[in-house]
Symmetry: C2
Subunit: 430 residues, 2 copies
């Protein structure tokens, strides 16, 4: 399903620099067999097999109910409770999803910032619309979704009354702990769980990602089936034929050579938030102990006209991973014009998708020639199944890669620092 | 208007490391007096004073005409002919501009990629809508806007006939040269110019940026007035009181100390594409001769829950610039709730904007304590005037900063490499 083309890496690395079978094999075993207290946040690893099938059916039922009752689903969440769902919807439906005409509700994301401007605007967008709320928070104590839930729960109650509002609130939170769980149980909101021992950045295939995606019309059975196939393949193949091994080991070998920035590039604008999700997954897994590859992303070909100069000729501490799809959902042909003003008649009748593929090949070659190692990550298509596969590929790669780097892939010790300052400044009670 | 808070830099740099008055003064003079053949792309520098007033009136008239004739303005352009207009509209109107109800047309950007998916989708969005086209290309020979213009010009003609379509095409291109100029003159399209000796990344205050912004209801008189005030201030003040001097010199001094990534952060989602515009401006100006600070951006507080771990505790080759606004267009208060399930009642009645400001202060302190030098860039508000001022600030800063680095701020020698490969693979005639 996923192929990694490493021809753009071979000018920069010997195979012996990254194909360390014993080391990677040991790490693989450590992860799979869940050794050690620090490495216990691995529920995501078998999730495509072990997920709660009853709850999964309830997620699909809830999505159908939301489709029938609402013009808009408000998804309140931040970090892993935001980026995964948005990444899936933008890639599999559209980055312009809310503008397109369709049979599924619009999906607005709130509670991922503290911008009163943004919150007010979403309020305006809800005028004269029927809406429901999916609030997603493992603990329930996070500030951004907490404030947004207060605001929009009030709004919902003023619109539908207390009882009507209750039927339109869907909670995704911890199974047993935390304030949001308590709230949901007390008020009787329909609720879904984020399973134990799974971090926010690994939660995309839980209700956190699945309910908004299903509501947007994505076939979550296919998503899970893709992830399941990936799981079966990648957990078993303990060799450098495994693209997870390749991706994790190559990027760490390049990092050891001083390449401390990875640029994830795609030639489809629909991939933008998938790259944002990838940034969190890798940045939060690896960016610790004053080390780690800095994850950045570009949106080609737009960014060839913005960041292209830098990538071609700037500081040579970069590596690049270029995502591509072998087939497309839609194509269009370049129209001929009578007078060839723009000199593009030589392309008349050509498929724009094929031109996009050529632009990608040309870019990869130029960047490799310019001194940037490039990994080519290709998927067969932009389908729900391929998406599930890709999610699992990146999750396992991040875990393996961080472990090669020598850090715990599943903790995030640095995220509390600004919060401590903030709560002090806000005068939060002890 | 713009203040730079350097208290987050002082733990990392001595003043003597960056306050090199003689060096920066000489570069300032070189730029202002337009010395040397390589440095002649400086039309942008006096543009807020010297711009063509007749054309400016025509831009405003065209915007009024488009507002009256179209539900949608299709803006076809890439790079500097795309990011500037989008940045302005998202910051000054809204990142959800096209979803909001308003008296101005929707603005769809196309021709900035080679995605058939995207082109098809924009086609669907135009169904049953009246639309006009603004095609923006200095040369007219760029592939992405070229293909999009062919597709949507056909569509326009099928909708309005050849003559009707002609009246709905607005061309922004070179004054006298290039294929698009020829085309516009031959067919009689209304046209505007990108002045001579101005690069794409410095063209936001030309018709390239101004016509789409005016169509979206932005007061371009105020934008130009802000830029003019900035110009008067920054061109004259040859001292380290000048925030342009501060920003350019500090970032280059940090770069000399091994800080090779700059993260531009804002706490307003409306700033996202302003940061994309900034990335092109700095990345393309400085990323050359295998050097230059890598420009990246984050969208706080969302990205505190994604990239926060890395920024707090990852590789310490970062510097950060945090943009803030002293006042806001809209506010909202945290509502109280009867049972304090989420423990946020201590914030009840507090302004969300003030909480956002506190989150920013807390973040800056945490990052500085964690080993990242932070510059605080503050603006009075998110107004059209402040936007013009900020644009000029960044443009002059990029020119000064690249010059301190020892590279030409106005060329982009690396952008042709992939194009040469691409045209060969596409079989472009010589």
């Amino acid at each position: 399903m996923i192929k990694l083309d490493l021809s753009g890496v071979s000018p920069f690395l010997e195979k012996s620099q990254w194909q360390k079978t014993e080391q990677v094999g040991q790490i693989h075993d450590t992860l799979v067999n869940n050794y050690g207290v620090d490495y216990d946040f691995t529920t995501w690893m078998n999730l495509p097999e072990t997920y709660d099938k009853d709850e999964f059916r309830r997620i699909k039922q809830a999505a159908e109910k939301i489709k029938s009752e609402a013009d808009v689903l408000l998804v309140i969440g931040v970090g892993g409770s935001y980026l995964g769902a948005r990444a899936g919807i933008e890639l599999l439906r559209s980055p312009n999803y809310n503008l397109t005409s369709k049979y599924t509700p619009n999906i607005y994301f709130v509670g991922n910032n503290l911008s009163a401007e943004h919150i007010n605007e979403i309020g305006h967008l809800l005028k004269d619309k029927n809406f429901s709320i999916n609030v997603v928070s493992k603990s329930g104590g996070t500030l951004e979704p907490g404030i947004a839930f207060r605001v929009f729960k009030n709004f919902l109650e003023s619109r539908y009354g207390d009882i009507g509002a209750k039927g339109r609130i869907y909670v995704t939170t911890d199974r047993g702990k935390g304030s949001l769980r308590k709230w949901a149980d007390k008020e009787g909101f329909e609720s879904f769980k984020i399973p134990d021992r799974i971090g926010g950045r690994y939660s995309i295939l839980t209700a956190a990602g699945l309910l908004p995606m299903a509501t947007a019309g994505i076939d979550i059975d296919k998503v899970m089936a893709g992830a399941f196939e990936a799981m079966k393949t990648y957990l078993v193949d303990k060799s450098f034929d495994n693209p997870v091994w390749q991706y994790a080991a190559v990027r760490q070998a390049l990092y050891a050579e001083g390449r401390n920035i990875e640029v994830l590039a795609s030639f489809e604008p629909a991939f933008r938030f998938m790259a944002e999700w990838w940034r969190q997954l890798f940045g939060e897994s690896e960016g610790k102990s004053h080390g780690g590859i800095f994850p950045s992303s570009v949106d080609f070909s737009a960014d060839l006209h913005a960041m292209g100069q830098y990538l071609q000729d700037g500081s040579r501490n970069l590596m690049e991973t270029v995502v591509s799809f072998d087939s497309f959902r839609r194509d269009i042909k370049v129209p001929p014009i009578a007078e060839d003003y723009d000199g593009l008649n030589y392309l008349a009748g050509r498929s724009v998708d094929s031109i996009n593929q050529i632009a990608r090949q040309a870019t990869v070659k130029a960047h490799v020639d310019g001194g940037v190692p490039v990994m080519g990550l290709s998927l067969p298509d932009m389908s729900d199944t391929a998406f599930g596969w890709l999610v699992y590929f990146f999750q396992f790669s991040a875990a393996l890669s961080a472990s090669i780097q020598g850090v715990n892939p599943f903790d995030q010790p640095g995220v509390e620092a600004y919060k401590a300052n903030m709560f002090r400044l806000l005068g939060k009670p002890e």
